[in-house]
Amino acid sequence: MNLKPETLDKIEKLIPRYPTKRSSALPLCHLVQEDQGYLSNEGIEWIAAKLDLEPINIIELVTFYPMLRTEPTGKHHVRVCRTLPCALSGAYQTCKKFEEAFNCKVGHTSEDGSVTLEFVECHADCGHGPVVMVGEEQYNDIKPEEAEAFAAKLLNGELGAQV
C-alpha cells in the first residue's frame, strides 16, 4: 500500500479519537479512497488489518454505503441529484444534456475516461435544484437550458468554484 504521508498522518491521528477502533472504519475508507481514488482489494485488506478486523468487515461497508467505490472514476466525477425536488426543477433533462455533451450514459464513465456521470439521491440543497456535484464542489441551479454550457466549461477546465 502506497498511501501518501499526509493520509497516514491523518489516519494515525483519527483512530485514537474514537472509543473503539472499529468506529474509525468508515472514516478510514474515506481517507484511503481519497488517497487512491477508490478502494482496491489491497486497500480494503490494509484497512482491515489496521483496525484488527477481517476484510469482510470492510467489504460490508463498501457494499452498503453508496459513496464508497471499488473502481476509479473518470477525470471528472459528475453527480446529478435526481430526487423529487431536483427532478421538479429539471434534473433529468439536465442529465440528458450531460449524456450528450460527455458522450457518456448516466451510471458510466466515458470511453476517453474524462467523465464519470452518475445520478445521486438528495444532496440537501433542494431550494437550488438541479444540484450537481463535480468532485467535491457543488453547483446549484444547473437548469436544463444551462447544462450544455456548464458541460463545455467543465471539459475546458474553466469551471471555477460556484459558492
Binding site: 468508515l26 460490508e60 453508496p66 459513496m67 430526487t83 421538479l88 433529468y92 438528495c122 440543497d125
Partner: protein, 454 residues
C-alpha cells in the same frame, strides 16, 4: 406585502458581513450562553429545556427535554451526545445552512447540551456529501478548542468534552438514530429494534446516548439565553420556538424561511413568502414535511378536531404551519421540507421518483421493506414506461399497507406513506394513466409519453 420572517436560529447567517469564524461569532454574542450554562447545575439546564417544550426538528417532533429525561443515569456507563447532521430527508436543507454559515452556533448548542446531560464525548454525524461542511466544522472545532470552549476543563468548570466529526457515506438510513449509531460504531447502518435499544438506555457502544438534530441543538442555546418559560412563548403551546421551512419545487422563490411555529399558514408561505407559483400555473399538491410525509391535495377539505378539542375546517392554504396542525390533517411537519407541485406535475411520475429513492435507500434488513419497496418502484416505473394497468393503484396500496408497521424502523412507514397518500388522493390519475396508454396503443402510437421526473 409579504409576511416578515422572524429569525432566531438564522438570525445572522445571511448578513453580508457575517462569517463562519469564531471571532465573528463572539462579536455577535457567541459563547455567552455556554459561559452561563457551565455556571448552572446540569439538572437545572435539563429542566429549562423541558419547560421550553422544544420539539425535535429532525422529523419526529419528539420533545427534546423529554428525550433527555429518559437517559439512563443509573448504569454508571459513559453518556454520549450525538448530533444528527445527516440531513437526508429529501426537501430539507436547513442544517446545511447552519453547518456552512454558522457552525459555532451548533457547537455552542452542543456543548451546552453535552454539559446538561453530562456527556463524556460528543459526535457530529455529518452526511458524506457535505465535503465543505465537514472541513468548516473541523476548523470551527479547532477554533473553539483553542479558546477552551471545548476540550479539557471547559472554561474552568471542571467539565471536559470533545466533539468528533464523523462523516457518513451517502446512506439515507443513517438519519435514523439507531442506524446512525450502528454506522458510528463502524457497521452497516442497520437500525436496531426498540425496545430494547432505545438510545437513551442502550445507544452508542450500548451506553446511554442522546441523538438530536442540528437545529434542535441550536435551539438549546436560545433556551438558555431566555429561559425555558420565555422560549415557550414563541409559537403556541405544544408548538414552541421557530421552524425553518425549506420550500422547494414549483414556487417562484424557493428557499428557507424561519417563522415562529403557527405564525403563518401554508397558503401564506407559498403565496406571500415564496412569491406564489409560476404565472398561469395552479397549485396541485404539497408534500409538507419532507418526502416521507403524506401528500396534501390542493382541492381537499380538511376537517376534524385538534388535540385541544378545537374543531377545524380548512382548505390546503388555511393549514397553520406547526407540528399539531399538519398532524391533524393527516400528514406531518417532519423535517420542514415543503415540496410544492403545480398542475403540470404528473403524479404517477412523482411517485415513481420517490419510490426510486426509497428502493435505493432501504437497508435491506426487514423483508417487507427490502422486497416491497423495490416492488413498488418496479410497478411505478413500469407505469411510466407505457405498461400501466388499471389495477396498479390497488396493487401499490396493497404492497404499501403490508410494509407499514412491519419493519424494525420507521423507514417502512417513510416508504409506504407516499404511496398510500398518492393513491388515496390521486387514484384517478393512476387509473387514467392506464386508460390513456391503452388508447394510444390502439391508435398505433407509442404507449408511454415522455417522462420528466423519472
Amino acid at each position: 406585502m409579504a409576511i416578515q420572517e422572524q429569525r432566531l436560529i438564522f438570525k445572522y447567517l445571511d448578513e453580508p458581513s457575517y462569517s463562519n469564524d469564531i471571532d465573528c461569532y463572539i462579536k455577535h454574542g457567541g459563547y455567552e450562553q455556554l459561559k452561563k450554562a457551565v455556571g448552572m447545575k446540569p439538572e437545572a439546564l435539563c429542566a429549562e429545556v423541558l419547560e421550553s417544550g422544544v420539539r425535535g426538528r429532525g422529523g419526529a417532533g419528539f420533545p427534546a427535554g423529554m428525550k433527555w429525561k429518559f437517559l439512563d443515569r443509573k448504569s454508571g456507563k459513559p453518556i454520549y451526545l450525538v448530533c444528527n447532521a445527516d440531513e437526508s430527508e429529501p426537501g430539507t436543507f436547513k442544517d446545511r445552512q447552519i453547518i456552512h454559515k454558522d457552525p459555532h452556533q451548533l457547537i455552542e448548542g452542543m456543548i451546552c447540551s453535552a454539559f446538561a446531560i453530562q456527556a463524556e464525548q460528543a459526535f457530529i454525524y455529518i452526511r458524506g456529501e457535505f465535503f465543505k461542511g465537514y472541513r468548516i466544522l473541523e476548523k470551527a472545532i479547532e477554533e473553539a478548542r483553542a479558546k477552551n470552549f471545548l476540550g479539557d476543563n471547559i472554561l474552568g468548570s471542571g467539565y471536559s468534552c470533545d466533539i468528533v466529526v464523523h462523516r457518513g457515506a451517502g446512506a439515507y438510513i443513517c438519519g435514523e438514530e439507531t442506524g446512525l449509531i450502528e454506522s458510528l460504531e463502524g457497521f452497516r447502518a442497520n437500525p436496531r429494534i426498540k425496545p430494547p435499544y432505545f438510545p437513551a438506555a442502550l445507544g452508542l457502544y450500548q451506553c446511554p446516548t442522546i441523538v438530536n438534530n442540528v437545529e434542535t441543538l441550536c435551539n438549546v442555546k436560545h433556551v438558555i439565553e431566555v429561559g425555558g418559560k420565555e422560549f415557550a412563548k414563541i409559537g403556541t403551546p405544544g408548538n414552541t420556538g421557530t421552524r425553518i421551512w425549506c420550500v422547494s419545487g414549483h414556487v417562484q422563490k424557493p428557499g428557507y424561511y424561519e417563522f415562529p411555529c403557527s405564525a403563518l399558514t401554508l397558503g401564506e408561505l407559498i403565496n406571500d413568502v415564496c412569491g406564489g407559483l409560476k404565472p398561469g400555473r395552479k397549485l396541485k399538491a404539497v408534500i409538507p414535511g419532507g418526502s416521507s410525509s403524506k401528500i396534501l391535495r390542493a382541492d381537499e377539505r380538511f376537517t376534524g378536531k385538534l388535540k385541544n378539542g378545537e374543531e377545524f375546517d380548512w382548505g390546503i392554504e388555511d393549514i397553520p404551519m406547526d407540528f399539531d396542525s399538519l398532524m391533524a390533517v393527516g400528514s406531518m411537519s417532519g423535517s420542514g421540507g415543503v415540496i410544492v407541485m403545480d398542475d403540470t406535475t404528473d403524479m404517477v411520475e412523482a411517485l415513481a421518483n420517490l419510490n426510486y429513492f426509497y428502493a435505493h435507500e432501504s437497508c435491506g434488513q426487514c423483508t417487507p421493506c427490502r422486497e416491497g419497496v423495490p416492488w413498488m418502484r418496479k410497478v411505478t416505473a413500469r407505469m411510466c414506461a407505457g405498461e400501466a394497468r388499471e389495477e396498479d393503484a390497488d396493487l401499490l396500496k396493497s404492497i404499501a399497507d403490508q410494509i407499514a408497521g412491519r419493519t424494525i424502523c420507521a423507514f417502512g412507514e417513510a416508504a409506504a406513506w407516499p404511496v398510500q397518500s398518492f393513491i388515496a388522493k390521486f387514484k384517478d390519475e393512476f387509473v387514467e394513466k392506464a386508460k390513456e396508454q391503452a388508447a394510444r396503443r390502439k391508435d398505433g402510437q407509442k404507449a408511454a409519453k415522455e417522462t420528466t421526473l423519472i
